[in-house]
Amino acid sequence: MTTVNDFIEQFLIAVDFQDSVEVTPDTVLLDLPEWDSLAALGVIVMFDIEYGKTIVGDDLKQSITIQDLFTLLSR
């Protein structure tokens, strides 16, 4: 079972931010300074390769926080 902390670790690898940033389940994606289209692509790939889950751009648009993204895993 993936924990939210494991998920955050994978998330930070996937988004490949230049500057390190603290992320919690409550972090709002749009508040992350480097959350951009490239990071979004990285997250789609992460869901596919790491978790075997297919998500699309709209799933990301509807996700406000990291917790919302994490919830997509159990969808």
Partner: protein
């Protein structure tokens, strides 16, 4: 149509031509973007690209590739029964670039020549189109010219190239296997919305806006929905590759090389990982040639596989995917084909 087999079609040769001018994704961008570019390059895998000078067009690159290929093949011009161009950067909206090139290459008036409008998925569709004419016995020798002039200084993905491929009738040729698909529901994912009949050019399409980095954006720029293209490519391509191999009676281990359209590193690595293929069987030219649209499969074969293909017979799987949306896979044997080195013009 999906899966099909073509018989008696031989892959006789192929030539690729790129512009001499090299663009660096790091150096050729505004200083304010350079730190961001390092991250971008890590993820898209593209360090340098090729760009035509203003006076050079896709048809010039394809012409040079075709001239070299015809010379090396020692084909008479009168023998070329068909010339198909697949490009989204024609010389003019009308007439077809293929017909202009029929004259420029000195081919006979009896040559079938017309254009097909496909981009990144072009190559397998082109092999199938001409292969079908040959397989049916209506023609004996044909040229397929594929590529685009799609590079701009601003955009970090696209790169220019023109390629020529020769197919011929041969009773000894092993079968070619195809899987060709289209999904027009995704047509908005990659789109040049302005300039056609639904939205003709108007004065306001010439007025750009400037973003926070000082980069100009025009209303008639290419629309590219990154997440949609990524999802499409990584969901559609792996099962299509497996289905084509199964149809051909092959396991993936039986195939020497898998040449995918060079989209970007994220997409290509995801496809490769999902198919559990090792790097050495999946050549890439993203780093130095970027995304050369429909030309990326031949460009990668020329740049990475030329010596291996000249040494002995190889079994290849070629897969193009993108605009349309469309995706096509072809499994073929290449044996004794004429493969000139990369041409820079």
């Amino acid at each position: 149509m999906g899966l099909s087999t073509l018989r008696h079609v031989r892959f006789a040769g192929m030539a690729s031509c790129v512009p001499k001018r090299v663009l660096s994704n790091i150096d050729d961008c505004p200083p304010s973007l350079q730190s961001e570019r390092a991250r971008l390059i890590r993820n898209i895998g593209i360090e340098t690209r090729r760009i035509c000078p203003e006076w050079q067009y896709f048809s010039d690159l394809a012409f040079i590739a075709a001239e070299r290929l015809l010379a090396d093949l020692k084909w008479e011009r009168s023998e070329v029964d068909a010339l198909i161009v697949i490009s989204q950067s024609p010389d003019y909206l009308i007439p077809s670039t293929a017909i202009i090139l029929q004259d420029r290459l000195g081919l006979s008036n009896a040559t079938i020549a017309y254009d097909v409008n496909l981009g990144c998925s072009a190559y397998p569709f082109g092999l199938h189109l001409l292969g079908n004419m040959i397989s049916a016995g209506s023609i004996k020798k044909a040229l397929l010219l594929v590529g685009d002039k799609c590079a701009t200084v601003r955009d970090p993905l696209f790169s220019d190239a023109g390629t020529a491929t020769a197919l011929e009738f041969s009773t000894d040729a092993p079968p070619m296997y195809f899987d060709l698909n289209s999904d027009g529901a995704g047509y908005k994912a990659i789109m040049l919305p302005v300039g056609g009949h639904r939205e003709p050019y108007a004065y306001y399409h010439g007025i750009p806006t400037r973003d926070e980095h000082g980069q100009m954006h025009w209303p008639n720029d290419l629309i590219l929905d990154g997440p949609a293209v990524l999802s499409f490519s990584t969901q559609r391509v792996p099962p299509a590759v497996e289905a084509t191999a199964a149809y051909a009676g092959l396991k993936l281990e039986d195939i020497n090389y898998f040449v995918f359209h060079q989209a970007n590193r994220m997409i290509n690595d995801t496809i490769r990982k999902k198919l559990r293929l090792t790097d050495d069987r999946v050549p890439s030219t993203l780093k130095e040639f970027g995304n050369t649209s429909g030309a990326s499969i031949p460009v990668t074969m020329t740049a990475r596989l030329r010596e291996a293909l000249q040494a002995e017979k190889k079994k290849l799987l070629l897969c193009g995917f993108g605009i349309g949306l469309s995706w096509g896979t072809c499994i073929l044997d290449i044996d004794g084909a004429v493969l000139p080195e990369m041409i820079e013009a």
